[in-house]
């Protein structure tokens, strides 16, 4: 198992390197291939008073006057040992991991990301707890009551959940519970370390609106999995052995049905940390997703690079965790 973990970690690091190379090429090589010169790339960061001197200064600072391979090497080097930038009277050291420097907003990228990651992570984790519990419960109940009113109602709600976009449910919840029947004075991010109760309280609406979509999806998946599993021979055997129905359902049925759920959960959760753009926008939460949108709008390539790498990291990391959890929940899966 230890060898497997080490192998997977190395694989994940390699994958992130490939992602970084591809992302770097998209943002810095493709424009060159498209005919843009280093001067043209630098011009967009100079401001309104573009002149040869200012363009040359930015070009040098950003390293755009270097070959692409050197630029990429410097970027990777910055991640490991940091880098120096001069945007004022004295040079500034951007400590490792230095994800670069935003030439639009003149900030180091990494501190901006670390301020926003907890917001996105908080949003994703709370929503995930809600959608997994509610989705799986509804799915199991629906499967056990197949064709009955409970199943039909649950599946109708699930269909509605999948169909309604977050910008609708989010706006609706916001309008209802912040303005019309103001249970919440405002929706904002309060750091968990500052006040866990406030953290949870102020994130309930974003969690619910995000979880509504996902729990609907998970309910349908769980229902389908449970229906298939509960028809298996070993379930009949378990019942024939005289086991209690709860044991049959939870220990034998649900455990097997959960495997695909765990797989997709890993993917969903990892992706969500970097892409909950709509929820973050609707509720004005300053997470990674909203930051990505802003940086793309501003054509702020170092930030886009940083966000992409962080989002990729979460996806890779969550997949790794899922693979490891597999072994724990499904005895059929064993790693050598």
């Amino acid at each position: 198992m230890a060898a497997y973990i080490i192998r997977r970690v190395f694989g994940a690091v390699l994958l992130l390197l490939v992602v970084s190379a591809v992302t770097f090429a998209i943002f810095f090589l493709v424009p060159r291939l498209g005919g843009q010169t280093a001067d043209q790339l630098a011009t967009q960061y100079v401001g309104k008073d573009a002149n040869p001197d200012s363009i040359a200064a930015v070009k040098q600072n950003l390293g755009l006057d270097q070959p692409i391979a050197v630029q990429y090497w410097d970027y990777i080097k910055g991640l490991v040992v940091g880098a120096d930038y001069k945007f004022g009277p004295e040079a500034t050291h951007c400590g490792a991991p230095c994800f670069g420097y935003s030439f639009k907003s003149h900030v180091e990228v990494w501190p901006q990301l670390t301020e926003r990651i907890p917001v996105s992570f908080s949003l994703a984790i709370g929503a995930a707890v809600i959608w997994v519990i509610s989705g799986v419960t509804i799915g199991v109940v629906s499967a056990l009551r197949k064709g009955r009113p409970v199943d039909r109602i649950a599946m109708f709600i699930a269909l509605a959940g999948v169909s309604l976009p977050i910008f609708f449910t989010g706006q609706l919840l916001n309008a209802l519970f912040v303005y019309e029947v103001p249970i919440w004075d405002s929706i904002e991010y309060v750091p968990f370390t500052q006040n866990p109760a406030d953290w949870a309280w102020h994130l309930i609406l974003p969690w619910v609106s995000l979880a509504f979509l996902f729990s609907a999806l998970y309910a349908r998946l769980t229902r389908a999995g449970m229906l298939e599993t509960m028809g298996e021979d070993y379930i009949r055997t378990a019942r024939a052995k005289g086991l209690k129905e709860t044991t049959v359902v939870t220990k034998h049925g649900l455990r097997a049905a959960l495997t695909p759920i765990v797989t997709i959960f890993g993917m969903d959760f990892g992706t969500l940390v970097g892409t909950a753009v709509l929820t973050e926008t609707v509720f004005s939460l300053q997470g990674i997703g909203a930051y990505a949108v802003q940086s793309i709008k501003d054509n702020d390539l170092p930030i886009v690079m940083g966000v992409t790498l962080v989002a990729a990291f979460f996806i890779v990391f969550c997949n790794l965790v899922v693979d490891l959890v597999y072994a724990a929940i499904d005895p059929r899966v064993r790693y050598s």
Binding site: Y45, V46, G47, K48, D49, A50, N51, D53, S54, A57, V58, N61, K86, F87, G88, P89, E90, T92, S105, H106, V107, Q112, E115, F167, F168, Q171, L172, N174, A175, L176, V178, Y179, E180, V181, P182, D185, S186, T281, V282, F283, S284, Q286, A290, Y291, Q294, N299
Partner: protein
Amino acid sequence: MKTRRVTAAIASVLALSLGAAACGGGDDDGNGGGNGKKDAALSSIVNASTKKGGTVSYEHSDVPDSLDPGNTYYGWVQNFSRLYARALTSFKPAAGKEGLEVVPDLAESLGKPSADAKTWTYTLRKGLKYQDGTPITSKDVKYAIERSNFAPEALSNGPTYFKAYLEGGDKYKGPYKDKSADGIKSIETPDDTTIVFKLKQPFADFDYLATFSQTAPVPQAKDTGAKYVQNIVSSGPYQFESYEEGRGATLVRNKNWDAKTDPIRKALPDKVTIKFKVNPVTVDNDLLSDKITADAAGTGVQPQTQPKVLQGKNAGQTDISYAGATQYIALNVNVAPFDNVHCRKAIQWGLDKQSVLDAMGGSPKGDVATTLLPPSVNGYSKFDTYATEGHKGNVAKAKDELKQCGKPNGFNTILTARSDRPAEVAQATAVQESLKKIGVNIEIKQFPSGKYFTNFAGVPTYVHEHKLGMLSMAWGADWPTGYGFLDQVVNGSAIKPSGGTNLMELNDPKINKALTDAIANTDDAARTKAWGDIDKMVLDNASVVPVVYRKNLLLRPKSAANVTVTQAYLGMYDYVLMSSAK
């Protein structure tokens, strides 16, 4: 009751999601619960108060270019920065036209010009201090101008008028590269309270330039270049308690600010907060529910909120202010057939401006424009060279001009618009429809606004090559005088190989000379009159088709006090005056 409110909320969200215009109830009494009448803040101070305390809270749906006074171009930041950064001069915090008056701020009086308006001298007030108690000197003002205008490698957001107008401005490398003790030689500081500017040309609007936040002092020892925004040293009544890049800031009282040195600020609130990147609909809802004091952007509520506030119970809390900008069509005089003045006049006479305004959203969006200068700018003169009944155009006169132009049956041309500006696209479509009546067939070409001037409309070779005869344009003044508005859009010197803003490519020696003469004239009244005269010359040339004077539909919450619109800052509320009952 709650059920009805919940139903109403669901209905309004449904309407919003479906893009429908939800109208509010009919209980409009024209008042905002004792919060003044509709448009009251245009000419008076609403909820005038002298009560100290409370928190003024702002929200903004975007981020600022920078809160560093030396690194911003945004009008709202210029307005907001006056809370923590005192410039040499400022605009008077007052209602109506009085708000356009320039008054001394750090300086004890307005600038003293030489006879030729090429040398301007200011003397700082006595007893000025930074938030840390150290004295503010004229050298700090000089340094602030040096860093903001001459260090684009670190601070590239702000305007560079000082660089353009100061003697030797094109040679000085900025304080981060030129480490000499003298700095730029055309700014002299003979003692700690005197600062002298030596310009390369006469410039009678210099007091307006001195209102820019770039003249707010910066202590050189505390300057960290691009990172200074994270530790701004206050010279105003408030200082930063916290600043979070891209997220917001909190200002608290600066204990070393002395009211005796500052006749223009009352500094009533104890605290000022600002949050960035708040969903625009949330900003509107927070204004309506009185959770915040103002939308910092100052450009008005969102389109989906407009019907609600105009017809609902909040109508008395609205102010429709001039945004200090004119939306117009530039007819390029180097693209046929607009090289012929009669073809240009045919467009002037033929365009149904009222229908264009209606297509853009009607009166809340603005008024039909007949001049290039908007009414809120010093020097505006009301006239209509091409007056038609109800601004609906005059087909007969237009056709007569077409005959004189040698195109009696009309012609084909191209009109540009910025694809990500719905109002501009709506305007272009309405212009296209309107001019069909006189046989002018328009093809609309759309370009992204981010590259509109640098790659397309502002590049003469591109314009000529692609025969872009008509170009959609909107312009607001950097400072509210005729020169501040006109120089960058009608002066021949504003035609550039790329990034130009004189989209007509108007290079009329008479207009150029009139601008140069007027800005050299230190007689305020004569100078102000000249701007209106130049505006008439531009309209006689017929290359500018004014369409709309843009307006903001502002909403003032009930708790907001000392609320008035300032025309000096693009028709938003005056943030120096504003206080809160909360």
